[in-house]
Point group: C2
Chain length 221, copies 2
């Protein structure tokens, strides 16, 4: 718990500072304990504010994490853009998507909770801001992927991108099992096959999707 | 809230009845409000027992829903088995997977929460029982899919199955948006493209995966 430098944030720069302090606390707590284990009360305690004060900045716990998810989408899009500039072979495009996601555990954790949790208990304006960010990145990065991947055309880059995001959100909690599952896998190595490793599984699945998109197009009469 | 027929379940058949009553209440509550909105207290109230009594049968809320998920896997496997017996063309195999999942909203809801939520806060024996069920179905149905789908061979049926399950868990909450998102989509039709429809998206994605599995095998030197 940190002591805030001012009691009430009245000036716009103070309000902005508070907002940033709340996001920083939420980010650190989620990195330490996982998104699923952080409550609004936990964020408030860490940032040194009352819960009733935190909700003046973000209506709910979910709105805080949705803001961090939007930030994650923008930051990831920048990283992929840099990697795609150097990519020419199909495998390099797949590596760019896979490795940038593997390097961002908090973003993957947020992706895994977005539709089931973070998009609930929020206001319509918060939902709108988030969806605009996501749709903007999907459109922009989708076009970049189509341009960089020699086997893809039209909207197929966007399809590969949505597949990558969906897979990352699905695989991240599978590859990072709960304490009960980790113990089970240590006791029963035959069941440990259920613990799919993140990077190789992402790479294999995205290679399959890209090959399938190309094959279906070629089959078309 | 229902009144239990006996105060304490001492005989094995009464214990089994209690267990069934708890599962029935949890199932009905999840069908009505969604898995994410049901608490252990809600289940206890509905079944007419104290929380301290419910946890003698299932240690946690998550163990109750993991048991329903295991039941869902077995019941779905039976339904797919029947459909696969009649399937000969690739599209029929994809339809069998897609339509049996689309017809089971509670199973899809449970799939969407399994790795992020239901596999946490559970005992190792509960984790083991669940994973054995899942691995058994994946092995058995995977082999059936390979046999039924003329373009697949070896483990590829299992890969298609795991893809179907992952997609269903990812797509279900996207296709069934929260109240804030539903309002947003009604207000901003341009953002409603983010609300992917379950059946057509499953069918397209599984067709891409099956085509990709075949194409990659044919490309192999």
């Amino acid at each position: 718990m940190t002591e805030p430098a001012f009691r009430r944030a009245r000036r716009p720069e103070h309000k902005q500072q508070r907002r940033e302090a709340i996001l920083t606390a939420a980010r650190e707590l989620a990195l330490r304990s996982g998104v699923r284990n952080v409550s609004l009360g936990g964020v408030a305690t860490t940032v040194g504010l009352a819960k009733s004060n935190v909700v003046r900045y973000f209506g709910t716990r979910e709105e805080i994490y949705l803001e961090l998810a939007a930030e994650g989408w923008r930051e990831w899009a920048d990283a992929v853009t840099v990697r795609l500039r150097e990519a020419t072979a199909p495998a390099e495009v797949i590596d760019a998507l896979t490795q940038t996601l593997a390097a961002r555990p908090l973003f993957c954790d947020l992706l895994s909770h977005t539709a089931t949790n973070l998009e609930h208990n929020i206001s319509v304006p918060a939902a709108r801001a988030f969806k605009r960010t996501v749709m903007g990145v999907v459109t922009e990065l989708g076009a970049q992927i189509t341009k960089a991947h020699p086997d893809l055309t039209g909207d197929e880059g966007g399809e590969l991108l949505v597949a990558a995001i969906g897979m990352a959100g699905m695989l991240y909690p599978v590859a990072n099992p709960s304490s009960a599952l980790a113990e089970l896998y240590a006791q029963d190595p035959d069941l440990a096959a259920a613990c799919l490793p993140f990077e190789p599984t992402m790479k294999r699945n995205l290679t399959v999707v890209a090959a399938g998109l190309k094959a279906l197009r070629n089959d078309r009469p």
